[in-house]
Symmetry: C2
Subunit: 359 residues, 2 copies
């Protein structure tokens, strides 16, 4: 890490690879001899068209996206997808939702405007675990089965891909590109970019083309997957800078070894923090073993005062944004793709030292 | 202009002030000692909250936005607003649309999904002029009157604010911040950021708070002005980097003299190009005098071959993106806020020289 930078454990927007930021900085006023910044480029120019196509191709390679699936670069975040998904895929019928956290719950609530929502599983209010396959209550005629792969606030992560008759729809906002995924098993995968991919403002949607084209009549055109597929994501001006930054992130990821490399690092990062938690009676992990997230490790001490002291002292050491979400309280260390192992070690060293001083 | 940069006449995304890009570059890996890039900041962090509030405040100052109106920083571009406006403001009733170009036409077409659209004026197919006040056919009970202040493709610009009983809704994507506006006369002003404000991915909405809260029941929550007002634009993660860049642009604009300075420059830039057109029988301007845009000057020669040669030779001299939109053909010089007079002079010099060689 560069000397004047911090270790940023924010849940999102979040840490980006320094190599990526340095490359962006270098070319900020003049991209590859074009005489302009990527921020100034017409989205219809040949140079930006290349950036766009290259980024799409690199993402296809990184996630082994089959030709059956289209990659879209959209705006509006996961929250707009909460509406777009039922608008496009439900035909106003029944859809199954597994509610394992705050964002899955929000998605289910928003979907009620457009279709009949069946709660296939709920882990409320604790959300400390992921339901097992046999716990899922599947509707016989569901238009799709919706789940959120990683629950950022509670720190749980699905360790398996559910078996369902209905097409799988998955919010991978907080663990996309952190492990290999068999995309062919999914009807639709989507992710806000601001955790593992790029700055906030870009939403990636990967959709089985056969599912597009059944949108409800009042669907806004930029929310129609079919129209966006036909327009190559350029029905309107896309978030060009975010797409460019995603391309740089994918260069970094592919050069290092792709999602297998990321998975290895992800497991190693998480193990180092969970090991401290499991070898301590001072810290209380929130998520149950078997459901634990590698991306967001949630824990607390026995007292809210100590939690506050932990967050404050960590920040003073350059370990920032370890405060838990206000819904869950306690602490949360988000260990996204760009978090170096040195950052994890600095955190675990501090955790052990803090415990020694306060037990 | 820095030696290795070009003059970029793109209609959007488009040229940004060099001072703004240099400032962004300098702080790219470490914003004000935070140890992180603005791209890595949690949108809920104190530091980003400051950037957000400052940017909002600077925009309020630059456009003299009264307290009756809220400023929202959204995503999805003008095209999502084409749907959001009737979803929020029409109550499914009648809305008046002045169709003076491609984007106003698209807005009217999209609105047909949500309300009864009355075409209050149309300048199709030429779109070479703006209708006069007395030409506007206003519905007695319109929920709002919609128009597009500047027509990027055809190069026309409203030189007056229409008088209507219904609240005015105006797309200012391509001339916002280029002249003073009496915001109190408008129910809603919106603009995609990628012409005069910031990189693509941010949509600014300025809305009279009294108009919010009447959305149709199936309105997605991120498209509800009321919910976004209540959430301070942060119902979901906003496009943080674009907001930061807008702040830097506003610093530059306010330091130079605000929208009065911009208006003076805008008139001067346009005059220099229109003077060449008006003193030539070689070039044919598209827009009628009295309706001409200061932001996008559209013209052609007598032959498509010469138009193509003009575009190609201009680019070879570092005057890039002067090709007209495919709908309109010919040439288009977009003269946005960040285009220096030197760029305009380089263009007019070339125009005169090209004419000499080809008459």
């Amino acid at each position: 890490m560069m000397a004047d930078r911090v270790y940023n454990f924010s849940a999102g927007p979040s840490v980006m690879p320094e190599e990526v930021l340095l490359e962006a900085q270098k070319n900020l006023l003049n991209y590859k001899g074009s005489g302009m910044s990527v921020m100034e480029m017409s989205h219809r120019s040949a140079m930006f068209a290349d950036i766009f196509a290259d980024t799409q191709e690199k993402l296809r390679k990184a996630l082994s996206v089959p030709d059956t699936h289209e990659i879209l670069f959209l705006q509006g975040g996961a929250t707009l997808q909460f509406a777009a998904i039922p608008m496009n895929l439900s035909c106003g019928k029944t859809a199954d939702y597994a509610v394992t956290g705050n964002f899955a719950n929000k998605a289910a609530k928003e979907a009620e405007k457009y279709c009949s929502v069946h709660i296939a599983a709920s882990t409320a209010p604790e959300h400390a675990r992921i339901p097992r396959q046999e716990e899922l209550s599947l509707s016989p005629d569901a238009a799709y089965f919706y789940y959120c792969a990683n629950n950022t606030i509670y720190g749980t992560e699905w360790q398996y891909v559910p078996e369902t008759k209905a097409p799988l729809v998955c919010d991978m906002s907080s663990d996309i590109l952190s492990r290999p995924v068999d995309v062919s098993r999914f009807g639709l995968i989507y992710a806000g970019a601001q955790k593992n991919m790029a700055p906030a403002g870009l939403t990636v949607v990967i959709i089985d083309k056969e599912l597009a084209g059944k949108e409800l009549p009042y669907t806004p055109q930029v929310m129609s997957y079919k129209m966006m597929i036909e327009a190559g994501s350029m029905l309107n001006t896309p978030p060009c800078w975010c797409i460019y930054m995603l391309g740089l992130t994918l260069d970094w990821l592919l050069a290092g070894g792709g999602v297998s490399w990321m998975e290895q690092l992800k497991k190693e990062r998480a193990k180092r923090v969970y090991d401290v938690l499991d070898n301590s009676s001072f810290y209380l992990p929130h998520a149950e073993p078997g459901s634990r997230s590698d991306m967001n490790v949630t824990f607390r001490t026995h007292s809210a005062e100590l939690d506050a002291a932990f967050v404050k002292e960590a920040a003073a050491r350059g370990l920032v944004n370890v405060k838990g979400h206000k819904i869950a309280g306690g602490m949360r260390a988000s260990l996204y793709n760009a978090m170096p192992l040195e950052g994890v070690d600095a955190l675990t060293d501090f955790m052990k030292e803090f415990e020694t001083r306060h037990v």
